[in-house]
């Protein structure tokens, strides 16, 4: 469903992505792991059209991701994103955050969007917080609202960029369980994460990125428990030691 071919991306003199090839099939949960600075966020941002790229191709379904084309907005509603720091709209309530896209981008009637929005908040266990502003919610609650906001667009896939990294440890579980619920419902997900337990349990496949390349990929269990490459082994050892 999402296909990357020989993707190259540079920031000035710094080449961040050096030829990425990857495919994410419909309904798959793919976890992207790798050291900080290896280009994981940049990769997600390219797929969502938040960054341009110099060479290669990204396609979503049969659509080419090209930041300069007007079609890019349609792709962004088809592939939404959940950010490390939530990025909820602070001047709008939880429910307003969730219905913003459906109403103003997709033109869904307000009553219908709100009914659906409340159902989504209920699904992530936050029905009672519909009228709360983000500032009054915990990090875990904010991230769950952000997930509901992404879901409200009826996306074909959701990209997660370290969705639990900014959370206090005791709040990680509630976000992971919302993601687990999503994965079980068949959502296509590309997840950048340092939560190896989530990757092992929920990931259909794991991609390991290092130095701007995908160094190793395979079924989650295999990559995480019997990594072939030395660099993967080093990385996993360092992550698990923490």
């Amino acid at each position: 469903m999402i296909r990357l071919e020989n993707l190259h991306k540079r920031f000035g003199a710094l080449e961040v992505l050096k030829g990425i090839d990857a495919r994410i099939e419909e309904g798959e949960v793919v976890c992207l792991i790798g050291a900080s600075g290896s280009g994981k966020s940049t990769l997600l941002r390219c797929i969502n059209g938040l960054e341009t790229y110099e060479a290669g191709r990204i396609t979503v379904g049969d659509r080419l991701v090209d930041r300069a084309s007007p079609q890019i907005r349609e792709i962004r509603t088809a592939v939404t994103m959940v950010f490390q720091r939530f990025n909820l709209f602070p001047h709008r309530t939880a429910l307003e955050n969730v219905v913003e896209g459906p109403i103003y981008v997709k033109g869904v009637p307000r009553a219908e969007a709100e009914e659906r929005g409340r159902a989504l908040l209920d699904r992530i266990g936050l029905a009672a917080k519909a009228d709360a502003f983000p500032g009054a919610l915990s990090g875990g609650q904010q991230q769950r609202v952000a997930i509901a906001r992404a879901l409200a667009m009826d996306p074909e896939a959701i990209l997660f960029d370290e969705p639990t990294s900014a959370l206090d440890p005791e709040l990680v579980g509630e976000v992971l369980s919302a993601m687990r619920d999503l994965a079980d419902s068949g959502m296509t997900m590309l997840v950048v994460t340092h939560e190896m337990s989530f990757a092992r349990e929920m990931g259909d496949r794991v991609l390991f990125m290092d130095g701007g390349l995908i160094v190793e990929e395979g079924p989650a269990r295999q990559v995480l428990t019997e990594p072939k490459h030395e660099r993967t082994q080093d990385f996993l050892r360092r992550v698990l030691e923490r």
Partner: protein, 217 residues
């Protein structure tokens, strides 16, 4: 004291005519400077090369010229190119343009204070630039912009007195006229000062109210 009140009673109707013009000029210049200031700030924020350059050029250019000179220019020089304006129109346009640059700097500061994550979130749900500005960026910028906006408004009110040099019959001009014919400088200028104060105090109260109101959330 009684003498003061008696003369005040005879001057006040004339001065109140001036107050009406001052208020009208302030409102007209405020509307124009807000609209233009927003335009300059949005051009700058757009990140589109030529627009950024034009915006920077206008804001820095206009800020470098005294308001008085701008007013003279619009009132005395434009007619030579066939653009005839009344003194009031020239005053409103001159002050509006001059103040659009202060406004632009306020708005820019407000826009740039917004977390870049907001832009990404808006884009990631497919918002266009215009929709993002309207629904996400501007409503948040309003909070940071309001306190300096209130202050700029008060400065503008006081700077309308400069329009007296191009014969706009606003409060300061009326005061001058009475003072030169009566030599009653103390009474006249005390009244003029009190009237300006009476106009600015509500603005000061409004500005601090808005500030509190928007900081609350």
């Amino acid at each position: 004291m009684i003498e003061f009140l008696q003369s005040a009673r005879s001057y006040l109707p004339i001065l109140l005519d001036g107050v009406a013009i001052t208020v009208g000029l302030t409102v007209a210049a405020l509307v124009l400077s807000t609209a233009l200031g927003l335009l300059w700030a949005l051009m700058r924020y757009s990140g589109i090369g030529p627009l950024v350059l034009i915006s920077k050029g206008i804001v820095n250019g206009v800020r470098g010229i005294p308001i008085l000179v701008q007013l003279f220019y619009i009132y005395f020089v434009l007619p030579e190119f066939g653009i005839d304006l009344t003194a009031f129109q020239a005053g409103a346009i001159g002050l509006g343009i001059a103040y659009s640059c202060y406004m632009a700097e306020n708005f820019r500061a407000g826009l740039e204070a917004i977390d870049k994550g907001q832009i990404e979130a808006a884009q990631s749900i497919g918002m266009s630039w215009g929709l993002m500005m309207r629904r996400v960026i501007l409503p948040q910028a309003v909070r940071t912009v309001l306190p300096p906006y209130g202050n700029t408004m008060i400065m503008l009110l006081k700077d309308t007195s400069q329009a007296s040099v191009i014969t706009v019959a606003e409060l300061t001009m009326k005061g001058q006229q009475i003072a030169t014919s009566t030599f009653d400088n103390i009474t006249v200028y005390t009244l003029v000062a009190l009237l300006y104060l009476a106009l600015s105090v509500p603005l000061i109260v409004l500005a601090s109210f808005l500030e509190r109101r928007f900081a609350a959330r």
